[in-house]
């Protein structure tokens, strides 16, 4: 047993942190928040050049064939700087879907492009309000074509293709489809969201050509597996963000004076930050376990992923709101960067299923373990 990242992985972390400090300062996040661009293309190009999009893709498909532990390290650093790039959609979701369910031709067609950053992929599950489930899906596939509406789809306005979850009369009730998004049978409309640093779209499929990804009637099981894997990576982003929010709160508290001394000296502030630290530490430790389960494809992955996800959701939300509180009126201003974490924390706490959904999955995983 060994509960540490390796020296090489820690080196990668330092390198990633250094790169992002240069290439993704708060001003870069703000530019996307305030501007018309969907994402920071320059930053994403740099990230691809660093090889991060290629990290977990096997070498034969143009990737680096690194372990998922490396990807977790990268995820934490991206989360820390609230990076405004389609990394999670393309890497944690689309790439994983292809690796899990793609046939040789599909992998060959897309993985090298995903690895080099030449293509962006996304995962299209939600269809408006409510928790998605196979019997509520309206998107359907017939005669090689997909019909229906997916909203919101992260990076749906910029992605080259989507892995869409559609209704299916067989098996577990759903199937996955690989659908290019540049056809004129696909209409994409950007939708406004709580976190404009990550763009989202509504996608209407009107007889859009699509091909099956994995067997028909196995789409729901695949979706769950994809989300389990992505949950670990998102949790690392959340932990990175939560720790950055803690550091931001601390830095402000040390410099802000009231009643003749730094507000960092008041117990109400000290204890607030200590409580953030506690939640962040627990979440991070749970993420270690998740990282290991992901990297070894352990049978404990569903439980480890849900555990990491639930604690990371809670930690990041708590850190992001108490960070604003620590800043007082300043924290509530548009000019201050506290809002980045508050927005991102909420986006990440619902994007692949809410806290409640993952709490439920966690208990289900324990029940399943008991039955086994």
């Amino acid at each position: 047993m060994n509960f540490e990242f390796s020296e090489e992985q820690n080196l990668l972390r330092e390198q990633a942190a250094g790169f992002l400090q240069d290439q993704c300062p708060p001003s870069a996040v703000r530019a996307i928040l305030e501007g018309a661009a969907s994402f920071d293309t320059e930053l994403f190009r740099g990230i691809a050049e660093m090889g991060w999009t290629a990290a977990a893709i096997p070498e034969k498909h143009g990737g680096l064939g690194l372990s998922y532990l490396e990807l977790c390290v990268i995820a934490e650093e991206l989360g820390r700087v609230v990076a405004p790039v389609p990394f999670s959609s393309s890497v944690y979701l689309a790439t994983e879907a292809l690796l899990l369910a793609g046939n040789d031709a599909q992998r060959e067609a897309w993985l090298p492009k995903l690895a080099s950053g030449a293509a962006i992929g996304t995962f299209a599950l939600a269809e408006g309000t409510g928790q998605p489930s196979p019997n509520r899906l309206e998107t359907a596939y017939e005669n090689g074509c997909l019909n229906g509406t997916k909203v919101p789809v992260a990076d749906g306005d910029i992605a080259d293709f989507a892995v869409a979850v559609a209704r299916c009369g067989r098996g577990d009730g759903a199937s996955l489809y690989l659908v290019p998004l540049d056809a004129d049978t696909v209409t994409r409309t950007t939708v406004a969201t709580l976190d404009p640093t990550r763009s989202h779209a509504r996608i209407d499929f009107d007889n859009a050509r699509a091909e099956s990804l994995g067997a028909a009637g196995e789409g729901w099981g695949l979706t769950r597996r994809i989300l389990d894997r992505a949950a670990v990576l998102f949790a690392w982003e959340q932990v990175g963000g939560a720790n950055a929010a803690l550091e931001q709160a601390k830095e402000y508290a040390m410099g802000r004076y009231a009643f003749g001394r730094p507000i960092a000296g008041f117990q109400a502030i000290k204890h607030k930050l200590a409580n953030i630290y506690v939640k962040n530490t627990l979440a991070r430790s749970n993420c270690y376990y998740g990282a290991w389960a992901l990297s070894t494809d352990a049978s404990e992955l569903p439980l480890a992923a849900a555990t990491a996800r639930v604690s990371a959701i809670q930690a990041y939300y708590f850190a992001s709101k108490e960070n604003i509180q620590t800043h007082g009126g300043m924290g509530f201003t548009w000019e201050f960067d506290c809002q980045f974490h508050y927005r991102r924390a909420k986006l990440l706490s619902v994007n692949i299923g809410s806290e409640r959904t993952w709490q439920d999955r966690l208990i289900s995983a324990i029940e399943a373990g008991q039955a086994a």
Binding site: F5, H271, Y277, S285, R356, I363
Partner: protein, 402 residues
């Protein structure tokens, strides 16, 4: 990172598990023994087979095991039902302090009987005027030749009634600022002049005591660290205390989970209720977060690092978790939740024991508030609280009495 065993670790685990299975005391063996006797029986059995305090060097009664072997042993021992308690202070706090500060001769003499369970130690730190503010303690020690003469009072001393030795912090100089006038000793609890009076707790039990000192004599050899260095030595103890107390024990996630599977709400198992699932998930997340934080701390120890202030998390989170889980379990039991009668109560009332014990856990070994202060100051580097006693001689510090 690898959460699975190496071949050597797997072999060690197998050996540990086999030994445990063959040696767990049977009901018959424990019949008629009190808590202390049971714990001693189990400790001696482990000691004789080389399974006591396994991280300690062999010459002190351990087996020189690695930190990871300790993790494995803890996992295996906690999965069987064996007598608990009474040695945590001696083995978990006094021993590491002795290892850091005692002479070689003293270590060879005092550590093996701690490992074997022949000796139980207690902790004479807290006083009526020195709890959270431990350094405000007033018990006096005055030098008389090669001996020190102790007068004063300690309070909340767990296990004093059955302890052989104790670790003790006293004031040797009231005319310097409070942290500078302290000195640390270990002491034979049978010394003349020690009087122990039990205190009844809210649970009805009497695990802790008042301990009075009237002209109690301690040989100077039993001093750990220099005169006036007691605070520094006490920090060694307190850092290890945070590791030793860990997350507290008592009612765990598993038990509440199983209860929720058995109990019904509206004719369906409670576990199917979404709100029940959400609460349980939150505790699971805390419990596993603490477990893995503990493993990471062991990784740090195995690199030779000292247990640091970050270990305050275990008790801080664990104590409230136990308290809230017990409260929740009582709610799940609905109207019968209040029944403590061992014949009738679920698991003979262990949930009530946890409910009534948890408030003490949140106070013992540093209160929740003190733990948060420690995390804020020592881990996050935030400023210390404003202190009116800073830099002034202890004798001039305002107190509750004055």
């Amino acid at each position: 990172m690898d959460f699975s065993d190496t071949p050597e670790e797997a072999a060690f685990r197998r050996e540990a598990r086999e030994w445990l299975q063959a040696n767990v005391p049977s009901k018959d063996e424990l019949e008629g023994l009190d808590e202390v006797q049971r714990a001693k029986l189990w400790q001696m059995r482990k000691y004789e087979a080389g399974w006591a305090c396994i991280r300690w060097p062999r010459e002190y009664g351990g087996r020189g095991a690695s930190a990871m072997e300790q993790v494995i042993w803890n996992q295996e021992e906690s999965s069987v039902r064996v007598p608990q308690g009474v040695f945590a202070i001696g083995q978990g706090m006094a021993a590491p302090t002795m290892m850091a500060w005692a002479t070689e001769e003293q270590k060879l003499r005092y550590l093996p009987p701690l490992a074997s369970g022949e000796h139980i130690w207690c902790q004479l730190f807290s006083e009526p005027a020195g709890g959270s503010d431990l350094a405000a303690l007033r018990t006096r020690a005055e030098k008389d030749g090669d001996e020190w003469v102790i007068n004063g009072q300690k309070i909340w001393t767990s296990g004093a009634q059955f302890s052989n030795y104790a670790i003790l912090v006293v004031r040797t100089d009231p005319e310097v600022p409070k942290h500078k006038g302290l000195t640390y000793f270990f002491i034979d609890m049978k010394s003349p002049g020690i009087e122990i009076k039990p205190i009844r707790q809210i649970s009805g039990e009497s695990n802790f005591n008042e301990v009075y000192f009237t002209d109690v004599r301690i040989p100077d050899e039993q001093r750990l660290g220099a005169v006036g260095q007691g605070w520094q030595v006490a920090i060694t103890t307190l850092m290890n205390e945070r590791l030793a107390i860990g997350s507290g024990g008592g009612l765990g996630f598993r038990q509440v989970f199983e209860l929720a599977q058995r109990i019904e709400i509206d004719g369906r198992p409670a576990i199917e209720d979404r709100s029940v699932r959400a609460r349980l998930a939150d505790w699971y997340v805390q419990e596993s977060g603490l477990r893995f934080t503990g493993y990471r701390a062991m990784s740090a120890l195995s690199r030779g690092e000292m247990p640091g202030p970050e270990n305050s998390i275990g008790k801080l989170v664990g104590a409230s978790k136990s308290q809230d889980m017990a409260s929740f379990a009582i709610d799940l039991l609905e109207m019968s939740g209040i029944v403590t009668d061992p014949e009738l109560a679920w698991r003979s009332g262990m949930v009530h024991d946890t409910f009534m014990g948890a408030p003490g856990l949140r106070i013992a070994g540093g209160t929740d508030e003190i733990m948060l202060n420690i995390l804020a100051e020592r881990v996050l580097g935030m400023p210390q609280d404003v202190r009116v006693d800073k830099g002034i001689p202890f004798s001039q510090v305002p107190t509750s009495a004055s």
